[in-house]
Each structure stands twice: as structure tokens, then as C-alpha cells.
């Protein structure tokens, strides 16, 4: 599964995307796995309320399923317009 990061999430991780092997079935489970990796990840994912996520380019809540998904994205609230 491809995991992609934007804005300050990308900057905190120093990483725009990566391939992740996971048995997580929801975004929340994936976040728990990633946050457990090291301090950088723990910091980036320390406040879930400041994050938004998309599964296969569709905005979803954190309890959404990622089973069969190709791409999960994490980013701060959007500031377009």
C-alpha cells in the first residue's frame, strides 16, 4: 500500500510517500502502527484531531476501512480557495 503525506505532515516526516506493508484494516490501526515506529512518526501523528486522511483519494474518517486500498494519504485540514 502506498502512503502519502502532505504539507507539515510531509515536512515532519521528511518524506512525501512510502510503501507500507500492513495488516491494519482501518486508518486508525494504520496510524497506530506508523506512530509506533519512531519519534518522528510519533510526533507527526501525535494529534489526530489536527489531521485529515483520504483513502484512494477520497476523504474519509479515521475509522474507515483500508482493506484493499491502494493509497492512503495524511495531511492537515485543507486551506484552499
Amino acid at each position: 500500500m502506498q502512503v502519502v503525506y502532505f504539507a507539515w505532515v510531509r515536512e515532519r516526516l521528511g518524506l512525501a510517500k512510502e510503501t507500507v506493508e500492513t495488516t491494519a484494516t482501518t486508518v486508525t490501526e494504520l496510524v497506530a502502527e506508523l506512530a509506533a515506529r519512531d519519534e518522528r512518526y510519533a510526533f507527526a501523528f501525535s494529534d489526530i484531531s489536527a489531521l485529515r486522511c483520504a483513502v484512494d483519494q477520497e476523504l474519509v474518517e479515521f475509522d474507515a476501512s483500508i482493506t484493499g486500498a491502494s493509497e492512503v494519504a495524511f495531511f492537515p485540514p485543507m486551506t484552499g480557495g
Partner: protein
Amino acid sequence: MAVRVQEAPFGAGDELDKFTAGAAGSGAVVSFTGVTRDAEDGSLDHMLIEHYPAMTQKALEQIEADARARWPLDDVLIIHRFGVLRAQDQIMMVATASRHRVAAFEAAEFLMDYLKSRAPFWKKEVTQDGADWVASKDEDEQALNRW
């Protein structure tokens, strides 16, 4: 119908004229243009707009489809830039055409509200003192509740 996500500048006046000419019979055309503001103290060097290319076009087309489902619109235009913008540069525009002025206005406001909080763009202000991601505003999130 047009959704354009681009790095290049656009001319809001030209776009408005083309849009209006293409919406024969509409009667009412509303446009919104977003312009890069300088920092309060005039220190903005540039604004950097990041987006999520694989998602952006799709998200904007969905927002347009939602607007068309709610109002009788003859045409809709959404243009949003990414990359480096200077103070006074035009960031984005939306336009709506309808027989009814209230529909044209409401749809344009709806598009803007959703574009602000549901389209995958992030703004970073770069000044001499450093760079900061623009924080989302509670009022922008709350604005969605009126629809």
C-alpha cells in the same frame, strides 16, 4: 463545465468573458476571485500552494457535481493554481451561470465553502522571517453547516 488545476497564471477577466459568452441564455453570472494577500506587516515573500495531484481534479469535480445537483446551473467554472504565488496574484476563481441570480450566488458560495475545506490544497506563507503553513479556520469548517 470546466475544472482546471494549474501552476500557470490565468486572467480572471478573460475567463469571465469566455464563461459569460458560453452561457447564452443564463441571465445571471457570478464570479469569485481569490487574490494573494500580503502579510499584515507587508513581509510576504511568496505563498506556496501544495496540492494532492491524484485527488485534486476528482475532488473539485465532485464539488461541482454537488452544486449542480442542488441548483439549476447552466455552467460552472473552477480554476485553482498551485506553486509559487506573490502578493496580488490571483490564486483561484469560480464562476456560475444560471437563469436565477439567487441560484448563481448560492452555488458560487457553496463552491467556495467546499473548496476552502474539502479540496486538497495547503497554503504556506514564506516571509523573510521564515515559513508557516496557513492554519485552517473554524469558521471555514462551520461554513459548511449552512448547506
